[in-house]
Protein backbone atom coordinates (compact mmCIF):
# COMPACT_ATOMS: atom_id res chain seq x y z
CA UNK A 1 0.00 0.00 0.00
CA UNK A 2 2.83 2.37 0.95
CA UNK A 3 4.72 1.48 -2.26
CA UNK A 4 1.68 2.27 -4.46
CA UNK A 5 1.26 5.68 -2.81
CA UNK A 6 4.90 6.51 -3.54
CA UNK A 7 4.60 5.48 -7.23
CA UNK A 8 1.37 7.51 -7.62
CA UNK A 9 2.83 10.68 -6.20
CA UNK A 10 6.02 10.28 -8.24
CA UNK A 11 3.97 9.88 -11.39
CA UNK A 12 1.85 12.92 -10.46
CA UNK A 13 4.96 15.00 -9.79
CA UNK A 14 6.50 13.90 -13.12
CA UNK A 15 3.31 14.78 -14.97
CA UNK A 16 3.11 18.17 -13.29
CA UNK A 17 6.76 18.86 -14.03
CA UNK A 18 6.44 17.86 -17.67
CA UNK A 19 3.30 19.96 -18.08
CA UNK A 20 5.13 22.90 -16.59
CA UNK A 21 8.12 22.35 -18.84
CA UNK A 22 6.01 22.00 -21.97
CA UNK A 23 4.06 25.13 -21.08
CA UNK A 24 7.21 27.20 -20.65
CA UNK A 25 8.44 25.83 -23.99
CA UNK A 26 5.22 26.98 -25.70
CA UNK A 27 5.43 30.41 -24.14
CA UNK A 28 9.05 30.71 -25.04
CA UNK A 29 8.14 30.94 -28.77
CA UNK A 30 6.19 34.20 -28.72
CA UNK A 31 8.93 35.68 -26.65
CA UNK A 32 11.41 34.74 -29.39
CA UNK A 33 9.20 36.49 -31.87
CA UNK A 34 9.00 39.55 -29.70
CA UNK A 35 12.76 39.60 -29.52
CA UNK A 36 12.93 39.38 -33.30
CA UNK A 37 10.53 42.34 -33.67
CA UNK A 38 12.72 44.51 -31.53
CA UNK A 39 15.46 44.18 -34.16
CA UNK A 40 13.43 44.70 -37.38
CA UNK A 41 15.06 43.64 -40.63
CA UNK A 42 16.03 46.32 -43.12
CA UNK A 43 13.39 45.12 -45.58
CA UNK A 44 10.38 45.62 -43.32
CA UNK A 45 9.02 48.39 -45.51
CA UNK A 46 9.13 45.90 -48.33
CA UNK A 47 6.58 43.91 -46.39
CA UNK A 48 4.20 46.75 -47.11
CA UNK A 49 4.30 46.19 -50.87
CA UNK A 50 4.45 43.23 -53.16
CA UNK A 51 7.76 41.61 -53.84
CA UNK A 52 9.79 41.60 -56.09
CA UNK A 53 9.27 45.35 -56.66
CA UNK A 54 11.98 47.71 -55.59
CA UNK A 55 11.79 50.09 -52.66
CA UNK A 56 14.38 52.79 -52.79
CA UNK A 57 16.32 53.59 -49.67
CA UNK A 58 15.97 56.81 -47.76
CA UNK A 59 18.67 59.36 -48.47
CA UNK A 60 21.71 59.30 -46.22
CA UNK A 61 21.63 61.55 -43.22
CA UNK A 62 24.34 64.04 -42.36
CA UNK A 63 25.13 62.66 -38.93
CA UNK A 64 24.51 58.94 -38.53
CA UNK A 65 24.52 56.97 -36.34
CA UNK A 66 22.99 59.52 -33.97
CA UNK A 67 24.21 57.59 -30.99
CA UNK A 68 27.79 58.69 -31.65
CA UNK A 69 26.87 62.01 -29.99
CA UNK A 70 23.70 61.17 -28.15
CA UNK A 71 24.90 58.06 -26.31
CA UNK A 72 26.53 60.26 -23.73
CA UNK A 73 23.77 62.93 -23.54
CA UNK A 74 20.67 62.48 -21.40
CA UNK A 75 17.33 63.01 -23.13
CA UNK A 76 15.87 66.49 -22.51
CA UNK A 77 12.13 66.12 -23.00
CA UNK A 78 11.34 69.83 -22.69
CA UNK A 79 9.82 71.13 -25.88
CA UNK A 80 12.11 73.94 -27.10
CA UNK A 81 13.94 75.38 -30.06
CA UNK A 82 17.10 73.38 -30.57
CA UNK A 83 20.55 74.95 -30.61
CA UNK A 84 22.22 72.18 -32.60
CA UNK A 85 20.02 70.84 -35.39
CA UNK A 86 18.73 74.40 -35.63
CA UNK A 87 18.63 74.17 -39.43
CA UNK A 88 15.74 71.72 -39.12
CA UNK A 89 12.74 74.01 -39.19
CA UNK A 90 9.95 71.66 -38.21
CA UNK A 91 6.90 72.43 -40.40
CA UNK A 92 5.07 69.23 -39.98
CA UNK A 93 2.17 68.17 -37.79
CA UNK A 94 -0.16 70.60 -36.08
CA UNK A 95 1.29 69.71 -32.66
CA UNK A 96 4.27 67.71 -31.55
CA UNK A 97 8.00 68.02 -31.77
CA UNK A 98 11.14 65.91 -32.11
CA UNK A 99 10.26 63.19 -29.68
CA UNK A 100 6.89 62.62 -31.32
CA UNK A 101 8.80 60.55 -33.88
CA UNK A 102 12.34 60.15 -32.57
CA UNK A 103 12.97 57.78 -29.67
CA UNK A 104 14.42 59.47 -26.57
CA UNK A 105 16.49 56.54 -25.42
CA UNK A 106 17.71 55.14 -28.75
CA UNK A 107 18.39 58.04 -31.13
CA UNK A 108 19.26 55.61 -33.93
CA UNK A 109 15.63 54.54 -34.11
CA UNK A 110 12.26 56.06 -34.81
CA UNK A 111 9.34 55.55 -32.46
CA UNK A 112 5.93 54.28 -33.53
CA UNK A 113 2.75 55.22 -31.65
CA UNK A 114 2.64 51.86 -29.90
CA UNK A 115 6.21 52.30 -28.67
CA UNK A 116 7.80 49.99 -31.27
CA UNK A 117 11.17 51.13 -32.57
CA UNK A 118 11.92 51.03 -36.26
CA UNK A 119 14.90 51.80 -38.45
CA UNK A 120 15.11 55.07 -40.37
CA UNK A 121 14.93 53.07 -43.59
CA UNK A 122 11.46 51.84 -42.61
CA UNK A 123 10.15 55.34 -42.02
CA UNK A 124 7.18 54.61 -44.32
CA UNK A 125 5.60 52.79 -41.40
CA UNK A 126 5.94 55.90 -39.27
CA UNK A 127 4.57 58.25 -41.94
CA UNK A 128 1.73 55.81 -42.57
CA UNK A 129 0.49 56.12 -39.00
CA UNK A 130 -0.99 59.53 -39.70
CA UNK A 131 -1.07 59.38 -43.48
CA UNK A 132 -2.87 56.08 -43.69
CA UNK A 133 -4.74 56.84 -46.87
CA UNK A 134 -1.53 57.92 -48.56
CA UNK A 135 0.22 54.78 -47.32
CA UNK A 136 -2.52 52.62 -48.79
CA UNK A 137 -2.23 54.50 -52.09
CA UNK A 138 1.55 54.10 -52.03
CA UNK A 139 1.22 50.38 -51.49
CA UNK A 140 -1.10 50.22 -54.50
CA UNK A 141 1.41 52.12 -56.58
CA UNK A 142 -0.84 55.10 -56.90
CA UNK A 143 1.04 57.59 -54.76
CA UNK A 144 4.29 59.16 -55.71
CA UNK A 145 6.73 59.30 -58.58
CA UNK A 146 6.49 56.34 -60.84
CA UNK A 147 9.50 54.67 -62.45
CA UNK A 148 10.37 51.11 -63.38
CA UNK A 149 8.19 48.88 -65.54
CA UNK A 150 4.43 49.10 -65.70
CA UNK A 151 4.16 45.39 -66.41
CA UNK A 152 7.12 44.28 -64.41
CA UNK A 153 9.01 45.35 -61.40
CA UNK A 154 8.01 48.85 -60.38
CA UNK A 155 10.10 51.16 -58.25
CA UNK A 156 8.40 52.32 -55.08
CA UNK A 157 10.20 55.35 -53.82
CA UNK A 158 10.57 55.56 -50.05
CA UNK A 159 8.71 58.57 -48.64
CA UNK A 160 11.92 60.37 -47.86
CA UNK A 161 13.08 60.10 -51.49
CA UNK A 162 10.73 62.99 -52.31
CA UNK A 163 9.57 64.49 -49.02
CA UNK A 164 11.77 66.25 -46.50
CA UNK A 165 10.62 64.60 -43.30
CA UNK A 166 10.66 67.85 -41.29
CA UNK A 167 9.17 70.07 -44.02
CA UNK A 168 7.29 67.59 -46.19
CA UNK A 169 5.38 70.13 -48.27
CA UNK A 170 7.06 70.58 -51.65
CA UNK A 171 8.78 73.88 -52.16
CA UNK A 172 7.85 75.99 -55.14
CA UNK A 173 10.34 75.56 -57.97
CA UNK A 174 11.30 77.43 -61.08
CA UNK A 175 9.26 76.17 -64.01
CA UNK A 176 10.86 75.12 -67.27
CA UNK A 177 10.52 77.57 -70.16
CA UNK A 178 7.11 78.34 -71.62
CA UNK A 179 6.38 77.26 -75.20
CA UNK A 180 7.12 79.67 -78.03
CA UNK A 181 4.20 81.77 -79.11
CA UNK A 182 3.00 80.91 -82.62
CA UNK A 183 3.71 84.43 -83.88
CA UNK A 184 7.34 83.96 -82.97
CA UNK A 185 7.73 80.70 -84.88
CA UNK A 186 9.24 81.71 -88.20
CA UNK A 187 11.51 80.14 -90.77
CA UNK A 188 15.14 80.34 -89.87
CA UNK A 189 17.70 79.60 -92.54
CA UNK A 190 19.87 76.61 -91.67
CA UNK A 191 23.46 76.25 -92.74
Amino acid sequence: MKKMKAVFFTLLATAALSVFLIQSGVHAQPQAEQAAKQQPKQTAAKLLIQAPDTVTQAPKMAFFPCSQCHAAMPANKTERALAFHAEIGLKHMPTGWCYSCHDEKNKDKLKLANGDLIDYSDSAMLCGQCHGATLKEWQDGVHGKRTGMWNGSKVYDNCLSCHDQHQPAFKAIKPMPAPERPEKIIYKKKK
Binding site: P182, E183, I185, I186, Y187
Partner: protein
Amino acid sequence: MTTALINFFKDASNIFKGGPKYYMLMGILGAIVAVGLGAYYLQFDRGLIVTAMRDQVAWGFYIANFTFLVGVAAAAVLLVIPSYLYKFKPIKEVVLFGEIMAVTAIIMCLLFIMVDVGRPLFVWHMLPVIGTINFPVSMLAWDFFVLNGYLAVNLAALGYVLYCYSQGRPYSLKVLLPIVILSIPMAFSIHTVTAFLYGAAKARPMWNVSILGPRFLASAFCSGPALMLLVFQALRKYEKVDIEDKAIFKISEIITYALGINLFFLFVEIFTDFYSNTLSGVSLHYLFFGIGDKTSLVPFIWTAVVFNVIAFAIMLTPKYRYNFKTLNVALVLMIIGVYIEKGMGLVIPGQTPDTLGEIYEYVPTTPELLISMALWAFGAMIFIALTKFALPKIRASKDFEH
Protein backbone atom coordinates in the same frame (compact mmCIF):
# COMPACT_ATOMS: atom_id res chain seq x y z
CA MET B 1 -14.10 60.97 -136.42
CA THR B 2 -10.38 61.66 -136.55
CA THR B 3 -10.99 64.78 -138.61
CA ALA B 4 -13.51 65.93 -136.05
CA LEU B 5 -11.01 65.47 -133.27
CA ILE B 6 -8.25 67.18 -135.22
CA ASN B 7 -10.61 70.07 -135.90
CA PHE B 8 -11.44 70.16 -132.22
CA PHE B 9 -7.82 70.58 -131.23
CA LYS B 10 -7.18 72.97 -134.11
CA ASP B 11 -9.89 75.18 -132.70
CA ALA B 12 -8.33 74.79 -129.29
CA SER B 13 -5.30 76.60 -130.62
CA ASN B 14 -7.58 79.63 -130.96
CA ILE B 15 -6.66 80.17 -127.37
CA PHE B 16 -3.28 81.43 -128.50
CA LYS B 17 -4.73 83.85 -131.02
CA GLY B 18 -6.17 87.26 -130.26
CA GLY B 19 -5.77 90.97 -130.45
CA PRO B 20 -3.22 93.05 -128.51
CA LYS B 21 -5.71 93.65 -125.67
CA TYR B 22 -6.11 89.89 -125.28
CA TYR B 23 -2.36 89.36 -125.09
CA MET B 24 -2.00 92.19 -122.61
CA LEU B 25 -4.69 90.70 -120.39
CA MET B 26 -3.23 87.22 -120.56
CA GLY B 27 0.22 88.69 -120.11
CA ILE B 28 -0.68 90.48 -116.91
CA LEU B 29 -2.45 87.40 -115.59
CA GLY B 30 0.51 85.30 -116.63
CA ALA B 31 2.85 87.61 -114.77
CA ILE B 32 0.77 87.28 -111.60
CA VAL B 33 0.86 83.52 -112.03
CA ALA B 34 4.64 83.61 -112.47
CA VAL B 35 5.12 85.60 -109.26
CA GLY B 36 2.84 83.15 -107.49
CA LEU B 37 4.86 80.23 -108.80
CA GLY B 38 7.94 81.79 -107.30
CA ALA B 39 6.18 82.17 -103.98
CA TYR B 40 5.00 78.59 -104.26
CA TYR B 41 8.54 77.39 -104.82
CA LEU B 42 9.44 79.13 -101.57
CA GLN B 43 6.59 77.38 -99.81
CA PHE B 44 7.43 74.01 -101.32
CA ASP B 45 11.02 74.33 -100.28
CA ARG B 46 10.63 75.76 -96.79
CA GLY B 47 7.31 74.25 -95.87
CA LEU B 48 4.02 75.85 -94.89
CA ILE B 49 5.89 77.83 -92.26
CA VAL B 50 6.02 80.65 -94.80
CA THR B 51 2.28 81.06 -94.30
CA ALA B 52 0.76 82.49 -91.16
CA MET B 53 -0.88 79.16 -90.31
CA ARG B 54 0.27 77.55 -87.10
CA ASP B 55 -0.98 74.72 -84.90
CA GLN B 56 -3.57 77.01 -83.34
CA VAL B 57 -5.04 78.08 -86.69
CA ALA B 58 -4.12 75.28 -89.08
CA TRP B 59 -6.53 76.16 -91.88
CA GLY B 60 -6.26 79.66 -93.30
CA PHE B 61 -6.50 81.72 -96.42
CA TYR B 62 -6.19 78.83 -98.87
CA ILE B 63 -9.10 76.94 -97.37
CA ALA B 64 -11.09 80.19 -97.15
CA ASN B 65 -10.69 80.67 -100.89
CA PHE B 66 -11.49 77.03 -101.49
CA THR B 67 -14.75 77.35 -99.57
CA PHE B 68 -15.82 80.44 -101.51
CA LEU B 69 -14.96 78.86 -104.86
CA VAL B 70 -16.88 75.67 -104.14
CA GLY B 71 -19.90 77.92 -103.78
CA VAL B 72 -19.19 79.61 -107.11
CA ALA B 73 -18.92 76.23 -108.79
CA ALA B 74 -22.15 75.01 -107.31
CA ALA B 75 -23.96 78.10 -108.48
CA ALA B 76 -23.52 77.23 -112.13
CA VAL B 77 -26.37 74.82 -111.68
CA LEU B 78 -28.66 77.75 -110.91
CA LEU B 79 -28.45 78.63 -114.56
CA VAL B 80 -28.80 75.04 -115.65
CA ILE B 81 -32.13 74.42 -113.94
CA PRO B 82 -34.19 77.15 -115.62
CA SER B 83 -32.49 76.73 -118.95
CA TYR B 84 -32.74 73.04 -119.53
CA LEU B 85 -35.61 72.16 -117.28
CA TYR B 86 -37.88 75.08 -117.93
CA LYS B 87 -36.50 75.90 -121.35
CA PHE B 88 -36.24 79.54 -120.48
CA LYS B 89 -34.65 80.50 -123.76
CA PRO B 90 -32.83 83.68 -122.78
CA ILE B 91 -30.78 81.75 -120.25
CA LYS B 92 -30.06 78.84 -122.57
CA GLU B 93 -27.36 80.76 -124.31
CA VAL B 94 -25.52 81.63 -121.20
CA VAL B 95 -25.57 78.17 -119.68
CA LEU B 96 -22.39 77.22 -121.41
CA PHE B 97 -20.57 80.12 -119.79
CA GLY B 98 -21.97 79.04 -116.48
CA GLU B 99 -20.53 75.58 -117.02
CA ILE B 100 -17.20 77.05 -118.04
CA MET B 101 -17.26 78.98 -114.79
CA ALA B 102 -18.08 75.81 -112.86
CA VAL B 103 -15.18 73.97 -114.46
CA THR B 104 -12.83 76.87 -113.74
CA ALA B 105 -13.98 77.17 -110.16
CA ILE B 106 -13.55 73.47 -109.48
CA ILE B 107 -10.05 73.48 -110.95
CA MET B 108 -9.19 76.43 -108.73
CA CYS B 109 -10.65 74.60 -105.72
CA LEU B 110 -8.48 71.58 -106.38
CA LEU B 111 -5.43 73.78 -106.83
CA PHE B 112 -6.10 75.59 -103.56
CA ILE B 113 -6.18 72.22 -101.81
CA MET B 114 -2.94 71.22 -103.50
CA VAL B 115 -1.11 74.30 -102.26
CA ASP B 116 -2.53 73.84 -98.78
CA VAL B 117 -1.45 70.26 -98.02
CA GLY B 118 1.86 69.70 -96.30
CA ARG B 119 3.08 66.95 -98.63
CA PRO B 120 1.56 67.62 -102.06
CA LEU B 121 3.61 64.95 -103.84
CA PHE B 122 1.91 62.30 -101.74
CA VAL B 123 -1.68 63.28 -102.48
CA TRP B 124 -1.91 60.06 -104.47
CA HIS B 125 -2.38 58.38 -101.08
CA MET B 126 -5.91 59.75 -101.23
CA LEU B 127 -6.84 58.02 -104.45
CA PRO B 128 -9.01 54.97 -104.44
CA VAL B 129 -7.45 51.63 -105.47
CA ILE B 130 -3.81 52.81 -105.54
CA GLY B 131 -4.16 54.78 -102.32
CA THR B 132 -6.19 54.17 -99.19
CA ILE B 133 -9.05 56.64 -99.33
CA ASN B 134 -11.05 56.71 -96.13
CA PHE B 135 -14.42 56.44 -97.77
CA PRO B 136 -17.17 56.64 -96.55
CA VAL B 137 -16.14 57.84 -93.12
CA SER B 138 -14.06 60.89 -93.92
CA MET B 139 -15.81 63.95 -95.33
CA LEU B 140 -12.66 64.86 -97.22
CA ALA B 141 -12.92 61.54 -99.03
CA TRP B 142 -16.48 62.43 -100.01
CA ASP B 143 -15.28 65.85 -101.14
CA PHE B 144 -12.71 64.16 -103.35
CA PHE B 145 -15.38 62.14 -105.12
CA VAL B 146 -18.02 64.81 -105.48
CA LEU B 147 -15.63 67.56 -106.59
CA ASN B 148 -13.99 65.42 -109.22
CA GLY B 149 -17.32 63.96 -110.19
CA TYR B 150 -18.82 67.42 -110.62
CA LEU B 151 -15.81 68.47 -112.67
CA ALA B 152 -16.19 65.40 -114.85
CA VAL B 153 -19.92 65.97 -115.37
CA ASN B 154 -19.46 69.61 -116.29
CA LEU B 155 -16.54 68.83 -118.59
CA ALA B 156 -18.65 66.15 -120.24
CA ALA B 157 -21.55 68.49 -120.79
CA LEU B 158 -19.31 71.29 -122.02
CA GLY B 159 -17.23 69.01 -124.16
CA TYR B 160 -20.25 67.40 -125.74
CA VAL B 161 -21.93 70.70 -126.64
CA LEU B 162 -18.77 72.25 -128.04
CA TYR B 163 -17.95 69.10 -129.95
CA CYS B 164 -21.37 69.17 -131.57
CA TYR B 165 -21.03 72.84 -132.41
CA SER B 166 -17.61 72.34 -133.95
CA GLN B 167 -19.19 69.72 -136.17
CA GLY B 168 -21.74 72.29 -137.20
CA ARG B 169 -24.78 70.61 -135.76
CA PRO B 170 -27.02 71.19 -132.78
CA TYR B 171 -26.53 69.01 -129.71
CA SER B 172 -28.95 66.26 -128.90
CA LEU B 173 -30.95 66.82 -125.76
CA LYS B 174 -31.28 63.07 -125.35
CA VAL B 175 -27.55 62.90 -124.67
CA LEU B 176 -27.18 66.16 -122.83
CA LEU B 177 -30.21 66.13 -120.57
CA PRO B 178 -29.17 63.16 -118.42
CA ILE B 179 -25.73 64.72 -117.89
CA VAL B 180 -27.30 68.03 -116.99
CA ILE B 181 -29.89 66.48 -114.70
CA LEU B 182 -27.05 64.67 -112.95
CA SER B 183 -25.17 67.91 -112.43
CA ILE B 184 -27.99 69.44 -110.41
CA PRO B 185 -27.84 67.15 -107.36
CA MET B 186 -24.08 67.08 -107.77
CA ALA B 187 -23.94 70.85 -107.41
CA PHE B 188 -25.93 70.59 -104.21
CA SER B 189 -23.73 67.73 -103.09
CA ILE B 190 -20.41 69.52 -103.52
CA HIS B 191 -21.50 72.32 -101.33
CA THR B 192 -23.28 70.16 -98.79
CA VAL B 193 -20.25 67.89 -98.48
CA THR B 194 -18.01 70.92 -98.01
CA ALA B 195 -20.37 72.16 -95.32
CA PHE B 196 -20.24 68.71 -93.69
CA LEU B 197 -16.46 68.92 -93.85
CA TYR B 198 -16.74 71.73 -91.35
CA GLY B 199 -19.72 70.32 -89.52
CA ALA B 200 -17.97 67.03 -88.84
CA ALA B 201 -15.39 68.79 -86.67
CA LYS B 202 -17.20 68.56 -83.35
CA ALA B 203 -14.17 70.11 -81.73
CA ARG B 204 -15.14 73.46 -83.29
CA PRO B 205 -18.47 74.67 -81.86
CA MET B 206 -18.88 77.42 -84.45
CA TRP B 207 -18.80 74.88 -87.28
CA ASN B 208 -20.63 72.05 -85.59
CA VAL B 209 -24.03 73.64 -86.31
CA SER B 210 -26.77 72.32 -88.57
CA ILE B 211 -27.32 75.66 -90.27
CA LEU B 212 -23.90 75.56 -91.87
CA GLY B 213 -25.11 73.53 -94.85
CA PRO B 214 -28.05 75.85 -95.63
CA ARG B 215 -25.82 78.88 -95.09
CA PHE B 216 -23.32 77.58 -97.59
CA LEU B 217 -25.96 76.96 -100.21
CA ALA B 218 -27.61 80.33 -99.73
CA SER B 219 -24.35 82.23 -99.92
CA ALA B 220 -23.24 80.19 -102.93
CA PHE B 221 -26.42 80.95 -104.82
CA CYS B 222 -25.97 84.66 -104.45
CA SER B 223 -22.22 85.08 -104.91
CA GLY B 224 -21.71 82.60 -107.75
CA PRO B 225 -24.34 83.93 -110.13
CA ALA B 226 -23.35 87.49 -109.15
CA LEU B 227 -19.85 86.78 -110.41
CA MET B 228 -21.33 85.28 -113.55
CA LEU B 229 -23.55 88.29 -114.21
CA LEU B 230 -20.53 90.55 -114.10
CA VAL B 231 -18.72 88.27 -116.51
CA PHE B 232 -21.69 88.16 -118.86
CA GLN B 233 -21.87 91.92 -118.98
CA ALA B 234 -18.15 91.98 -119.80
CA LEU B 235 -18.72 89.42 -122.55
CA ARG B 236 -21.60 91.50 -123.91
CA LYS B 237 -19.52 94.62 -123.95
CA TYR B 238 -16.17 93.32 -125.21
CA GLU B 239 -16.99 90.23 -127.20
CA LYS B 240 -20.39 91.28 -128.48
CA VAL B 241 -22.00 88.11 -127.18
CA ASP B 242 -25.73 88.25 -127.44
CA ILE B 243 -27.10 87.88 -123.92
CA GLU B 244 -30.57 89.20 -123.42
CA ASP B 245 -31.36 91.58 -120.61
CA LYS B 246 -34.17 89.23 -119.65
CA ALA B 247 -31.64 86.55 -118.76
CA ILE B 248 -29.65 88.87 -116.57
CA PHE B 249 -32.72 90.16 -114.77
CA LYS B 250 -34.08 86.66 -114.19
CA ILE B 251 -30.83 85.59 -112.61
CA SER B 252 -30.72 88.72 -110.48
CA GLU B 253 -34.18 87.86 -109.15
CA ILE B 254 -32.91 84.47 -108.04
CA ILE B 255 -29.87 86.13 -106.51
CA THR B 256 -32.10 88.44 -104.50
CA TYR B 257 -33.93 85.52 -102.91
CA ALA B 258 -30.66 83.78 -102.13
CA LEU B 259 -29.14 86.90 -100.59
CA GLY B 260 -32.20 87.46 -98.45
CA ILE B 261 -32.07 83.90 -97.16
CA ASN B 262 -28.34 84.24 -96.55
CA LEU B 263 -28.86 87.34 -94.45
CA PHE B 264 -31.61 85.63 -92.51
CA PHE B 265 -29.37 82.66 -91.74
CA LEU B 266 -26.63 85.01 -90.59
CA PHE B 267 -29.11 86.75 -88.31
CA VAL B 268 -30.23 83.40 -86.90
CA GLU B 269 -26.64 82.41 -86.10
CA ILE B 270 -25.91 85.74 -84.45
CA PHE B 271 -29.07 85.60 -82.35
CA THR B 272 -28.47 82.04 -81.14
CA ASP B 273 -24.88 82.62 -80.12
CA PHE B 274 -25.25 86.01 -78.55
CA TYR B 275 -28.53 85.38 -76.76
CA SER B 276 -27.53 82.03 -75.26
CA ASN B 277 -24.14 83.43 -74.35
CA THR B 278 -22.60 80.01 -73.87
CA LEU B 279 -18.91 79.32 -74.22
CA SER B 280 -19.44 77.93 -77.73
CA GLY B 281 -20.50 81.39 -78.84
CA VAL B 282 -17.10 82.88 -78.08
CA SER B 283 -15.97 82.40 -81.68
CA LEU B 284 -18.73 84.59 -83.03
CA HIS B 285 -17.99 87.14 -80.35
CA TYR B 286 -14.37 87.16 -81.47
CA LEU B 287 -15.49 87.67 -85.06
CA PHE B 288 -17.85 90.57 -84.45
CA PHE B 289 -16.36 92.30 -81.46
CA GLY B 290 -12.96 90.80 -80.87
CA ILE B 291 -11.75 89.46 -77.54
CA GLY B 292 -9.67 91.84 -75.53
CA ASP B 293 -7.28 93.53 -77.91
CA LYS B 294 -7.56 90.77 -80.50
CA THR B 295 -9.80 92.44 -83.06
CA SER B 296 -8.21 91.81 -86.43
CA LEU B 297 -11.33 90.34 -88.05
CA VAL B 298 -13.83 92.89 -86.71
CA PRO B 299 -13.57 95.53 -89.47
CA PHE B 300 -13.76 92.84 -92.14
CA ILE B 301 -16.90 91.15 -90.92
CA TRP B 302 -18.74 94.42 -90.37
CA THR B 303 -17.77 95.49 -93.88
CA ALA B 304 -19.16 92.21 -95.15
CA VAL B 305 -22.44 92.58 -93.28
CA VAL B 306 -22.91 96.19 -94.34
CA PHE B 307 -22.11 95.35 -97.96
CA ASN B 308 -24.55 92.44 -97.96
CA VAL B 309 -27.32 94.54 -96.43
CA ILE B 310 -26.81 97.38 -98.90
CA ALA B 311 -26.70 94.90 -101.78
CA PHE B 312 -29.91 93.30 -100.56
CA ALA B 313 -31.61 96.67 -100.28
CA ILE B 314 -30.59 97.52 -103.83
CA MET B 315 -31.69 94.15 -105.18
CA LEU B 316 -35.03 94.35 -103.41
CA THR B 317 -35.91 97.59 -105.14
CA PRO B 318 -36.97 96.85 -108.74
CA LYS B 319 -35.99 100.36 -109.81
CA TYR B 320 -32.38 99.68 -108.85
CA ARG B 321 -32.36 96.01 -109.79
CA TYR B 322 -33.27 96.83 -113.36
CA ASN B 323 -30.72 99.62 -113.56
CA PHE B 324 -27.38 98.16 -114.61
CA LYS B 325 -25.34 100.76 -112.76
CA THR B 326 -26.89 100.09 -109.38
CA LEU B 327 -27.23 96.39 -110.13
CA ASN B 328 -23.52 96.10 -110.72
CA VAL B 329 -22.78 97.97 -107.51
CA ALA B 330 -24.99 95.51 -105.65
CA LEU B 331 -23.32 92.55 -107.34
CA VAL B 332 -19.83 93.72 -106.47
CA LEU B 333 -20.79 94.46 -102.87
CA MET B 334 -22.43 91.07 -102.60
CA ILE B 335 -19.43 89.20 -103.94
CA ILE B 336 -17.06 90.97 -101.56
CA GLY B 337 -19.46 90.48 -98.66
CA VAL B 338 -19.90 86.77 -99.20
CA TYR B 339 -16.19 86.29 -99.93
CA ILE B 340 -15.36 87.72 -96.53
CA GLU B 341 -18.22 86.15 -94.58
CA LYS B 342 -17.76 82.67 -95.99
CA GLY B 343 -14.04 82.73 -96.39
CA MET B 344 -12.02 84.29 -93.61
CA GLY B 345 -15.19 85.02 -91.64
CA LEU B 346 -15.87 81.31 -91.27
CA VAL B 347 -12.56 79.51 -91.38
CA ILE B 348 -10.67 81.67 -88.90
CA PRO B 349 -13.24 82.28 -86.14
CA GLY B 350 -14.07 78.57 -86.14
CA GLN B 351 -10.54 77.98 -84.88
CA THR B 352 -10.38 81.01 -82.61
CA PRO B 353 -10.20 80.54 -79.69
CA ASP B 354 -8.63 77.16 -80.29
CA THR B 355 -9.63 73.98 -78.49
CA LEU B 356 -7.49 74.91 -75.48
CA GLY B 357 -8.72 78.47 -75.30
CA GLU B 358 -5.80 80.19 -76.96
CA ILE B 359 -6.34 83.08 -79.35
CA TYR B 360 -3.87 83.35 -82.19
CA GLU B 361 -4.59 86.16 -84.59
CA TYR B 362 -4.11 84.84 -88.08
CA VAL B 363 -3.12 87.41 -90.71
CA PRO B 364 -2.10 85.94 -94.09
CA THR B 365 1.54 86.43 -95.06
CA THR B 366 2.79 87.77 -98.37
CA PRO B 367 3.61 84.35 -99.87
CA GLU B 368 0.11 83.16 -99.02
CA LEU B 369 -1.46 86.19 -100.66
CA LEU B 370 0.77 85.93 -103.72
CA ILE B 371 0.01 82.26 -104.21
CA SER B 372 -3.72 82.87 -103.78
CA MET B 373 -3.63 85.74 -106.24
CA ALA B 374 -1.77 83.56 -108.67
CA LEU B 375 -4.44 80.88 -108.41
CA TRP B 376 -7.19 83.42 -109.04
CA ALA B 377 -5.22 84.76 -112.02
CA PHE B 378 -4.76 81.23 -113.29
CA GLY B 379 -8.48 80.64 -112.93
CA ALA B 380 -9.16 83.80 -114.88
CA MET B 381 -6.80 82.59 -117.58
CA ILE B 382 -8.58 79.23 -117.78
CA PHE B 383 -11.95 80.94 -117.98
CA ILE B 384 -10.79 83.33 -120.68
CA ALA B 385 -9.14 80.54 -122.64
CA LEU B 386 -12.18 78.29 -122.47
CA THR B 387 -14.43 81.19 -123.42
CA LYS B 388 -12.13 82.02 -126.32
CA PHE B 389 -12.42 78.42 -127.41
CA ALA B 390 -16.18 78.26 -127.02
CA LEU B 391 -17.23 81.65 -128.35
CA PRO B 392 -16.75 81.11 -132.09
CA LYS B 393 -18.72 77.91 -131.84
CA ILE B 394 -21.53 79.49 -129.91
CA ARG B 395 -21.68 82.25 -132.48
CA ALA B 396 -21.70 79.68 -135.25
CA SER B 397 -24.42 77.71 -133.52
CA LYS B 398 -26.81 80.60 -133.98
CA ASP B 399 -27.08 79.49 -137.56
CA PHE B 400 -28.40 76.08 -136.78
CA GLU B 401 -29.90 76.54 -133.31
CA HIS B 402 -33.48 77.64 -134.05
